[in-house]
Subunit: 422 residues, 2 copies
């Protein structure tokens, strides 16, 4: 994998040019893209030209001219934007999405558009898991996670409405960061659910993803390992703990022990009843909003929707405003309860039910992600653990809403503890 | 003006066809559009063809085939969509915005796109006030308010980020409804500020706008005058009362007396300190988000931006994330305080500083609207009062977040009280 932080430091020191960083990506793409299929559109030459044309200026930008993959759910004026749907096969938006413009303002170069599942829902696309091509990379940000895992890009942008950042990051063995709701704007990305859609990021390690988030957002999010105190962790198994594989259960416990060995305080916690209940509300809120967000596609191109999305929208047509409103009110109460639990501590919990499932017919289950998307809390997938077959097992650190910097720092602490315990 | 409710009842009773309703609009458009300039694009023939082709089916839809104007800030697949900016002069979006699809699902026919100021900001466009062509119609939903006021459409859709629904409704003497934040989705409208942009509606009277809102949202929002109890009103002058004209101050007091005479309880209230302060935070939050929402236009087409928007964005570049976050936290506290004040009552306050100012160089000031947009509360402009020169003076009813139906009912009560007091 390409470490964004390492590349940026070498560019800063004059030991690497932005164009040479593009070439590192190009080499990995030449070697692996044909097998993995992480990109929906790619223009290495343009990225290299941009890198060469502005080499001096890029050197002093926050992202130092690093190349990045952008999930094909974001509008781009200079790349086709298909949203993973045949309805938008020839779509050329007139403008870049806000997050893409922010990446470019920060000195990032767009290498290509990464594969998304259909409209960032569950219908799998062509991407395979770089760790084992017979396994799903997860979804919906399949291409972004796979591109980083295969060393084809040091940074990639994705989105999460259910578990679409944390799950593919876990399956592909990279760091994934779902910031607090709206820390990064969704403007110019294809909306699935306006109260859930969240822009997130992928990079090799937690420090790398924090570096990318700091650059794009212009916020103080960078992780300073040396200055990070040992965090207080709440090991939360949740009521669906039995749906996690034995290896995933062990991974969470291993992470907890490793963190404790480095000085972290670790206690078991149960979620407030209202939060456990809120987990069930996510699909209702998502479907009610999707039926309106995709009204045009559903009303005019229903035959071009994949069966998983079409079935979901068929069902969504019957959800009442009263049920939606009640779910939103319960969500608000759950947020208060979760906020209280997270005062002064971070939750440690699975990123997914297990390692990436074998086969490409499903992108896996977002059951360990939905609640946190609904709560709007920052989440980080911490990579580093493997199952017996060598597939990654990701553990998740969840922080309080708006406390993104310290959540990233806590995740970096756990990542270092896991590495040291090996 | 064309009453949406009256037309719908006549269509339901078989006394009017949807095509004949289109013809009523066409007659007013032929007579007045050349002077007023409410439309950016218009296709009366298509609306008439749609009305004729589906006459029987439309008759049983919630909106009964009524024609509507749609602010040109919403994407439409079958009309050009310019957002009031030369940057998008030839733009043809691939899909309808969610609110437009919802209007069509409910049996509304899109007659045309109504004029918006540039990107729904302050730079005035071509529209004139139907009540007096020498005066501004207000903005940014200038065309929507003017089209309804001139009887050219019974329903029009707009948006409010500062005061862009309530102010033009007040200036043009029509009912304007800014629902609770996100009651109607902004998906597919050009984003100015993601935490403030709110979809709103215009119609001849409060009952008409409630009928339109009920149809489009699929919610129980219709006003039943007979079943409405006299509301409890809080007359709130706010700290900027002195910036309201003498005639506007009298209008608010006249509305209060008229409501009291019909049985409403009316008490003077001051806003909580935190809410008075929050008023000042609105421009900061709006500008911080706009600098990101318009990143592509600012970075690539700065020369094609109008001077008012360009200056605002130049200034916005310097707003820090810390100041933005602090403003968001203060907003949250103010919402709690306003919510408490609004328990069991409705605020009565000016819709604008006065009647529509003379001249077309400014769309007027949103100072009596910003706080309520920031609070996310439902607001209704109640028409019916006039100044000495015959220009409309609008008063505003503000309700608790999520209590849209009773807020519309309270506004209808005040509207009836004003009419009876004349």
């Amino acid at each position: 994998m390409l470490s964004a932080l390492d590349l940026a430091r070498r560019i800063e020191a004059g030991a690497l040019t932005p164009a040479a960083a593009v070439d590192l990506c190009a080499t990995a793409i030449a070697a692996r893209e044909a097998d993995i299929g992480a990109f929906a559109a790619l223009d290495i030459d343009r990225a290299r030209r941009q890198a060469e044309a502005s080499a001096a200026a890029l050197k002093s930008t926050p992202l130092r001219g690093l190349p990045a993959g952008v999930k094909d759910i974001f509008d781009t004026a200079d790349f086709p934007t298909g949203y993973g749907s045949p309805i938008y096969a020839d779509h050329r938006p007139p403008a870049d999405a806000a997050a893409v413009s922010m990446l470019r303002r920060a000195g990032g170069l767009v290498l290509g558009k990464t594969v998304t599942t259909e409209f960032a829902h569950q219908q799998p696309a062509k991407t395979k898991n770089p760790r084992n091509l017979a396994h799903t990379p997860g979804g919906s940000s399949s291409g972004s996670a796979a591109a980083v895992a295969a060393g084809m890009a040091p940074i990639a942008i994705g989105t999460q409405t259910g578990g679409s950042v944390i799950r593919p990051a876990a399956f592909c063995g990279v760091a994934g960061f779902k910031p607090s709701y709206r820390l990064l704007p969704t403007v110019g990305s294809k909306c699935f659910s306006w109260s859930l859609d969240t822009v997130g990021l992928f990079a090799a390690s937690v420090a790398d993803v924090a570096f990318a988030a700091a650059g794009i957002s212009g916020r103080d999010l960078r992780v300073d390992q040396a200055a990070t105190a040992a965090p207080s962790l709440a090991l939360v198994r949740t009521r669906i703990w039995d749906e996690a594989s034995g290896e995933m259960q062990s991974a969470v416990e291993t992470a907890a022990r490793a963190a404790a060995a480095l000085g972290a305080r670790v206690e078991e916690h149960t979620l407030p009843e209202i939060a456990e209940e809120a987990w069930r509300l996510h699909p209702l809120i998502m479907a009610y909003e999707a039926f309106r967000a995709f009204a045009f596609e559903y009303d005019h191109h229903r035959d071009k929707l994949g069966p998983m999305l079409r079935d979901m929208l068929d069902h969504a047509a019957g959800i009442s405003a009263e049920d939606y409103d009640a779910a939103r009110r319960a969500t608000k109460r759950a947020r208060h309860a979760v906020n209280e639990l997270l005062e002064g501590k971070f939750i440690l919990t699975p990123s997914a039910p297990g390692a990436a499932p074998r086969g490409l017919g499903s992108t896996g289950e977002p059951i360990f992600n939905r609640l946190w998307t609904l709560m709007g809390t920052p989440c980080v997938n911490v990579p580093g653990l493997l199952d017996d077959s060598g597939l990654p097992l990701g553990v998740q650190i969840v922080g309080r809403f708006g406390r993104d910097r310290v959540t990233l720092a806590a995740a970096a602490f756990v990542e270092a503890a896991i590495a040291r315990a090996k």
